[in-house]
Amino acid sequence: MSFRKENNVEWEFFKYAFPCSQVLLQQGKIIKEEYEDLKMKFLDCEAPEREILERVFSAAFVRIKKLASEQNKDYWDLGIIKEYWENYHNKIIDEGEGIYGKAPESFKDLCKIHEAEVVERKGNMLIVRYSGDGSRDEDRSRDETERVIFDTLVKDAKVGDKVKIHYGYGVEMVGLE
C-alpha cells in the first residue's frame, strides 16, 4: 500500500534525489518552503511534477539527458532513471565531474548510493555499515564506514538486512524482489 508508486518514473527518480535536497537547502540553492514541500511529498511517497524535479535537481538531469541520448531513449524513460541511480550516478562522481574532482573522499561518499547493512535500530533511525569510503584519516581504520539514516522508506528493515542508502536516508531494501 505504501509503495503504490512502484514503477512510477517520477517517484523512481525522486526517492533517490530527495535525500540530496537538504544539502541544496543548506547551500541556499532552494528555499525553505520549497524544501518543506519536497519533504512532505517524500513522506507521502509521492513525487512532485516533472517540471519541479527538473528545476530542483538540474545537475542530475544534465547527466540523465546525456545518458538517455547515448541510448536513443527519452530521458524520462523508467529504465534510464533506474540505470542512472544504479550505476551512472556513482560513476560520474568517481570520474570527478565538476566539484567532485576536488571533493574529499568522505564527502563524495555521501553523494554516492551504497548498499549498506543494518547493524542497529534506534527508533526510526538505523545505524548501517558499508565498505570503506576511502577517506584519509591516520587515526582510524577505514575499512568500514558507519552512517545513521532515517528509515522513512525502509520501515521494515531489521538488523542484518541490506538497504540502499543516499545521504541520511535508506531508499529501498535490497533483495526483496
Binding site: P19, C20, Q22, V23, L24, Q26, Q27, K29, A59, G98, I99, Y100, K102, A103, P104, E105, S106, F107, D109, L110, C111, K122, M125, I127, S135, R136, D137, R140, T145, E146, R147, V148, I149, F150, Y167, G168, Y169
Partner: protein, 68 residues
C-alpha cells in the same frame, strides 16, 4: 553540486549535541558511539549522519566557500 557542509562538535550532553558551523550553531541528535568534542560531522534532518576526518572537513568547507 551538492556537497554537504560539515560542522564541528562543540558540546555534548548524551544524545544532544551542539554543532558549530561558523556562522551559526545547531542543536542536533547524535547516535554514534564514541563521538567526541572537536570532531567534524555531517548533519541531516537534525541527526548526525556521518563522522568525517578533520582534514577532509576543512577541505570541504574551503571548497564550498570558494565555489559560489
Amino acid at each position: 553540486m551538492c556537497l554537504a557542509i560539515p560542522g564541528k562538535v562543540i558540546e555534548m550532553n548524551g544524545e544532544d549535541i551542539i554543532v558549530d558551523y561558523g556562522a551559526e550553531k545547531r542543536n542536533v541528535k547524535n547516535l554514534f558511539d564514541g563521538l567526541k568534542v572537536g570532531e567534524y560531522v555531517v548533519v541531516s534532518g537534525g541527526f548526525v549522519i556521518k563522522k568525517v576526518p578533520e582534514k577532509e572537513a576543512l577541505e570541504a568547507i574551503e571548497l564550498i566557500t570558494n565555489s559560489d
